[in-house]
């Protein structure tokens, strides 16, 4: 049956039937910085309205989280009597490039550390206060503020050396089928990017836009929230926020978009 289907598609394309689909695959649009080699940001698959919303800071609803994050950044909290600004400076400039290179392998902790985990590490050990809950307003505000400092910078995660083992595990996860629907990430985002599943256009599932303002969520959300959503979609048990599995997957997914610009807060459908 597989061969038949291939032959049929080929024939259909040959007689001009699938001409539109073909044209869509070999998209000739120049996406500028939003495409690097084969890597295409989710931005390139969105509607013009969503793109316009993302491009304009006054229209982009995600900017609200950047503003809230700026306030938290300067707020003294905890037994040490410090704010983020006490150690990292008032402006947030010192955070330039952080979102582009995270998650990173932390030599001292001996593990892969993503942005949320690093923020909580600072809160607990340097400020001596309570960590933020993963998908809380505080955490989303802080990650969006920090990521925004890298706006436009190319994703550049390190996947060799001590990060190699985590990278390999993340990659294995990406290709492993799961759930009652028995699908791997690659079935939707590698084999069928650009294809339509029900009413959705599948993208390459890139991580460069996170935290993203998703119209469906009506708020910003983390990359791991997206992983949980995609796992649930195929009726697979999601992993907890901050789990090693998802942190490894973050590294691998970010690497699949190496060179794409950080777009936080992006706007997605």
């Amino acid at each position: 049956m597989k061969t038949n289907w291939k032959q049929i598609t080929f024939l259909a394309a040959a007689i001009g039937f699938g001409a539109c689909m073909f044209a869509a695959n070999a998209d000739a649009t120049d996406w500028g910085k939003y495409q690097v080699g084969e890597h295409r940001s989710g931005y390139t698959y969105m509607t013009d309205e969503s793109r316009a919303m993302q491009n304009d800071n006054f229209q982009n609803p995600g900017m609200l989280w950047v503003e809230q994050g700026a306030e938290l950044w300067a707020k003294v909290d905890g037994k040490a009597g410090k704010s983020c600004a006490s150690c990292h400076g008032e402006s947030g400039d010192s955070m330039k490039g952080v979102a582009a290179r995270y998650p990173v392998y932390d030599q001292n902790l001996g593990k892969l550390q993503d942005l949320e985990q690093q923020i909580n590490y600072c809160l607990e050990t340097r400020m001596e206060t309570k960590p933020y809950k993963w998908e809380s307003d505080e955490m989303l505000s802080m990650t969006t503020f920090v990521s925004y400092q890298s706006l436009g910078m190319p994703v550049n995660v390190k996947v060799d050396g001590p990060a190699a083992a985590a990278f390999e595990k993340g990659k294995a996860f990406y290709y492993e089928r799961r759930g009652q629907l028995d699908m791997a990430c690659k079935h939707c985002h590698e084999d069928n990017a650009g294809g339509i599943i029900r009413a959705n256009t599948l993208t390459q599932g890139q991580g460069n836009g996170f935290p993203t303002y998703r119209l469906k969520w009506q708020k910003v959300g983390s990359l791991q929230r997206r992983f949980r959503g995609c796992n649930n979609e195929v009726r697979a048990k999601p992993y907890p926020y901050g789990s090693e599995e998802y942190t490894n997957l973050e590294l691998y997914v970010k690497w699949r978009g190496q060179g794409l610009p950080i777009e936080a807060p992006s706007v997605r459908n």
Binding site: M1, Q180, D191, G195, I197, L202, R235, K237
Partner: protein
């Protein structure tokens, strides 16, 4: 003695074919040449019911990936899989049954879910654990519906 063996194995074969159940609780079926000849229920399915199962988003949800011109009234036909117009002319009933039961037998790398399978799955959500996506009746109904797509 040889007669007896034949009798016993014939009896076993009859038992097998009469919808006996395997260790995972599913009806046993036999695959030959990427096809399943026998109905999972021993009966023909109901095409009208099959159309409902096919379009229902919680059951077949087949339109998530396929297009069917006869179902143009239903919104949002996906384009991940081929159009199923004329599919009855391209495949036998037995091949269609195989494709629905477990498309991976035909194409191990396919994105299409197996609709009658519970083994070899990984991290299935508790509500769906050890349950096939469709019942044997629903599979046969969908196969009957596919046979109307001439």
């Amino acid at each position: 003695m040889p007669k007896l063996t034949i009798l016993v194995s014939a009896a076993a074969a009859v038992l097998l074919l009469a919808g006996s159940v395997s260790a995972d609780g599913l009806v046993k079926y036999k695959v030959a040449d990427n096809a399943i000849q026998q109905s999972l229920t021993g009966k023909a399915g109901d095409a009208a019911e099959g159309e409902k199962t096919f379009t229902n988003r919680k059951l077949g949800n087949c339109l998530a990936c396929h297009q069917v011109t006869a179902l143009a009234r239903e919104p949002f036909h996906g384009e991940i899989g081929p159009s199923l117009d004329g599919v009855a002319g391209r495949y036998s009933e037995a091949q269609l049954r195989m494709q629905v039961v477990n498309a991976k037998v035909i194409n191990p790398d396919t994105i299409m879910p197996a609709f009658y399978r519970t083994d070899g799955l990984h991290r299935v959500l508790d509500n769906f654990k050890d349950k096939p996506m469709l019942t044997p009746e629903q599979v046969e109904d969908v196969v009957a519906y596919l046979k109307t797509l001439k």
